[in-house]
Amino acid sequence: MTYIAKPKLHHPGLPKNALGFTHRDYEGRISTLCAGCGHDSISAALIQACFELDLEPHRVAKISGIGCSSKTPDYFLGQSHGFNSAHGRMPSVLTGANLANRDLIYLGVSGDGDSASIGLGQFAHCIRRGVNMVYICENNGVYGLTKGQFSATADKGSKSKAGGTNADSPIDLVSLALVLGCTYVARSFSGDKHQLVPLIKGAISHQGSAVLDVISPCVQFNNHAGSTKSFDYVREHNEAMNRIDVIPARSEITVDFEPGTTEVVRQHDGSYLKLAKLHADYDPTNRAAAMAFLQEKSAKGEVVTGLLYVDPEPEDLHAHLKTVGAPLNRLGEKELCPGSAALAQVNAGYR
């Protein structure tokens, strides 16, 4: 990590987005992660995605668990409120926060230990409920902060830096998310910003549960030969299904790819996902087919990336609970307290 503070001044010619913000307005504190950590690339991709989507930084709430990945919300969107919660418990805190104010964008940041081990239950249940969120798992297959133990996403047979072999079957968060009814499921690689940024943008536009499993090599403890989460391994085995482009609502959409190679999906918020197909017979709107395809590829050791599944008309938890349109945290006595006259009637019912 560096300890040299970033200069507060910046070049006057930095590009600005529609809100007049530059990249710098989406940055956070200096990262304390190791130099070259994949997680920092993901933070950079998040900054880029929010900048490109013209989001007001303060309308995003960042919530994380415990671990290297969960530290990162301090390193981007410095004008957003952050909540670095307990180990494996980001989903419940995010769910509660979302219930309190449905108008903000909820960015859940977690890691493979946080999501696939201690927090597997909460991972599953927030997806089942359809919480409107972007759930990013920064997946490196290893416990970094405690120095190199296998995590539950480590592939069977993969080697640890200390030389041990993982005998346990891996948990594939993408497959799990599909089974659980997740309405936006993607996998990417921290080393592929061009793929990752649009996937994040698509997830933010998605009005339901969006899960992004981002393979993010740990340069200290899981970047060696024999690891299946190293930069080299993922680059060699990365099988991208598609490249997406997110076109915000109200923009004109033009299809400039050859017919058959591009698919356009209109999301509920009016935005479009333009998918350039890299794999001709992969249909990201067919959940069952996606699941079968993933199983086949992972058996061959391939890392399937891209937008793997999307339901453009998702339902979220607020729809299930029929909550009012106004954020619950803005309701006061007038809306919430039935008052003394109603209480007199209540009393009468108990006599």
């Binding site: 409120h81 989903p91 509660g96 609970l321 039935p338 006599r351």
Partner: protein
């Protein structure tokens, strides 16, 4: 043995089989007595089971208005062969047994010192034409209510009115129940007239009071207190609180125009997720709560420490049951006091409220949300199964319409815009309570990072020892501030000057009130202090210093409140005498009276020697 004779002062106990539909008939009986203006105290004693195991319903009829459990049974209605022997054994000498005489008694234990009254409940209900077997099973229960009505002199018109209210608009059911009631009533009038010396007569002691369970009242209190997010996981005996909140919300919080809800209730996957949701919602500015019991409190520990340290409002209703482990899920105890007071690893202290009955459960429920937001910390409302799941006679609930919610120190966008300084964990006002902002408040000001790791006054991660101790010291001072905000103890002065005091709390109050009176009648005068909150008011130490010795009455094995008092107030343990009742049944006045009288006589003997 002379048969017991008493008017408006006796105990009836129903011994039923779980799932037989007896609960509503038993409640009908209790409410009939209430409607005649006589106070009742009822206790459901039920198993951790849905169908088949024994369950009991005890009705204490008290013209004097005592609401604690009395102990002993004067009239038993044994409808469960499994428990027949022990049900009969429990009856006071001279008492009564009213049983189903459809089949002759063969081999069951009987007692010569009680009056046996037989009414063929089953035969009578089976005689009702046009009914199906399940209906007849339920109507059999009404037959025994009818028989009791005749034996005890209950007013049939009162029972008819209650049946009418219960089955409003369902004419067939009103008729069927009315017929069953009269079958039992007429049988007794014809065959057993004058056989029972226990009587209920009209009185005027109930007045405006209501009959309500604590969980129901607390759920309503959460509605009045402005709670909008409830995250919970089913656990006896707290489940009915979340369900009551849901029912009251459906009545009061649904927008009539759109059908949309001004509340969100999530049944979480476990207690850890439930408290996580409560914290997320509290952090984001809604009033949120969970309802649970001991095992849930154990599971939630990590988040309690988080909320304490990161200063997040939350309300937790702990409906205590018998522990440890799974313990006695359907029995009452006050045994989570220390667990809640010092919940989580590291140095923590939490605010506890101790309501004495459903009415106070309503009030404390509403107040707890003000306290949580004012103090930015978890508030534990420490109820128990006895208060939570039994109907209690209490004063009507009341609400002052001029009351507003205390949202605590929340900085608005306007204040930030106007240049008000903001540092999340800085003690600006000297009361140790910092200011907070909600997510999404202002584009460039007021954002901060919430974390359970050590932080300085500006919410920045810090491993500096001074930064850490500054925050920890301020959190201690915040608890001092809390002392003046939480409900004050209630003092009860003896008629004559007393060297002895009694400290008690929660559901013990009803039995304690009665014990004060019965002890005073024997010349034992005691001052009382009812604890209503932790941290303890300074008045508690003064009370202890003002007496030679102080009894502390609790429903747990380890004298948890006493230990908390000794620990937190720095008092000499020798000043206290602990009285403990923890078999899972609600404490009784008889028990308290006996225990105090015994200790005092020992003390006097020792003094004389």
């Amino acid at each position: 043995m002379k048969p017991l004779a008493a008017t408006n002062d006796f105990v009836v106990k129903f011994a039923n089989v779980n799932g037989s539909g007896s609960a509503s008939a038993n409640e009908l009986f209790a409410r009939s007595v209430l409607r005649m203006g006589v106070a009742v105290a009822t206790r459901n004693i039920f198993p951790s089971n849905i169908q088949g195991l024994p369950t009991w319903y005890e009705v204490r009829i008290s013209g004097e208005g005592w609401l604690g459990r009395r102990g002993g049974v004067d009239l038993v209605v044994p409808l469960n062969p499994q428990t027949w022997d022990r049900d009969i054994a429990e009856v006071e000498p001279g008492g009564y047994m009213l049983y189903d005489s459809t089949k002759p008694l063969t081999g069951q234990k009987l007692r010569s010192d009680i009056t046996v009254l037989g009414v063929p409940f089953t035969e009578l209900s089976n005689s009702m034409a046009g009914t199906i077997p399940r209906e007849r099973q339920l109507l059999k229960n009404i037959v025994y209510v009818g028989a009791l009505a005749a034996l005890l002199g209950l007013d049939l018109k009162v029972i008819d009115a209650l049946i009418e209210k219960q089955f409003k608009g369902k004419t067939k059911l009103v008729t069927l129940n009315g017929t069953a009631l009269r079958l039992g009533y007429d049988y007794v009038e014809k065959n057993l007239k004058g056989a029972c010396g226990l009587k209920v007569t009209h009185s005027d002691k109930v007045g405006e009071r209501i009959f309500i369970a604590g969980n129901d009242a607390a759920g309503l209190g959460a509605v009045y207190g402005g709670a909008t997010v409830c995250a919970w996981y089913p656990i006896t005996p707290s489940t009915s609180l979340a369900e009551a909140f849901s029912a009251h919300c459906k009545r009061f919080r649904v927008d009539p125009a759109t059908g949309e809800n001004k509340f969100a209730i999530v049944q979480a996957e476990d207690e850890i997720a439930a408290i996580g949701m409560v914290l997320g919602a509290g952090w984001n500015g809604t009033r949120s709560f969970t309802a649970t019991s001991g095992p849930g409190i154990s599971l939630m520990q990590e988040f309690f420490g988080f909320a304490y340290y990161a200063e997040i409002p939350a309300v937790i209703f702990d409906i205590q049951r018998g522990g440890p482990s799974t313990g006695m899920p359907t029995r009452t105890q006050q045994s989570d006091i220390l667990l809640a007071a010092y919940a989580s690893h590291g140095d923590t202290k939490h605010i506890l409220l101790f309501p004495e009955d459903p009415r106070e459960s309503f009030e404390f429920a509403a107040q707890s949300f003000d306290l949580a937001e004012r103090l930015q910390t978890p508030i534990f409302v420490m109820m128990d199964l006895d208060i939570g799941m039994n109907d209690w006679l209490c004063e009507p609930l009341s609400w002052d319409d001029s009351r507003t919610y205390d949202r605590g120190k929340l900085i608005t966008a306007e204040e930030l815009e106007a240049g008000k300084a903001f540092a999340r964990y800085l003690d600006v006002d000297g009361d140790a309570i910092p200011y907070r902002t909600l997510p999404g408040t202002h584009p460039t000001k007021g954002a901060y990072f919430t974390r359970g790791s050590s932080h300085n006054a500006y919410a920045v991660y810090s491993e500096s020892g001074k930064d850490y101790t500054d925050v920890m010291q301020r959190l201690l001072r915040k608890l001092e501030t809390a002392k003046s905000l939480v409900p004050a103890p209630v003092m009860r002065a003896a008629k004559e000057k007393s060297r002895h005091g009694v400290i008690y709390f929660g559901s013990t109050s009803a039995a304690m009130d009665e014990a004060f009176a019965s002890l005073a009648a024997q010349g034992v005068h005691l001052d009382g202090l009812r604890v209503r909150a932790f941290p303890f008011a300074d008045a508690l130490s003064d009370f202890v210093h003002g007496h030679d010795q102080v009894f502390v009455i609790e429903q747990n094995r380890d004298a948890q409140l006493l230990k908390l008092i000794v620990n937190e107030c720095g008092l000499d343990p020798a000043r206290f005498i602990s009285i403990l009742h923890y078999d899972g049944t609600p404490i009784t006045a008889r028990f308290i009276h006996g225990a105090i009288a015994e200790r005092l006589s020992v003390t006097r003997k020792e003094a004389a020697e």
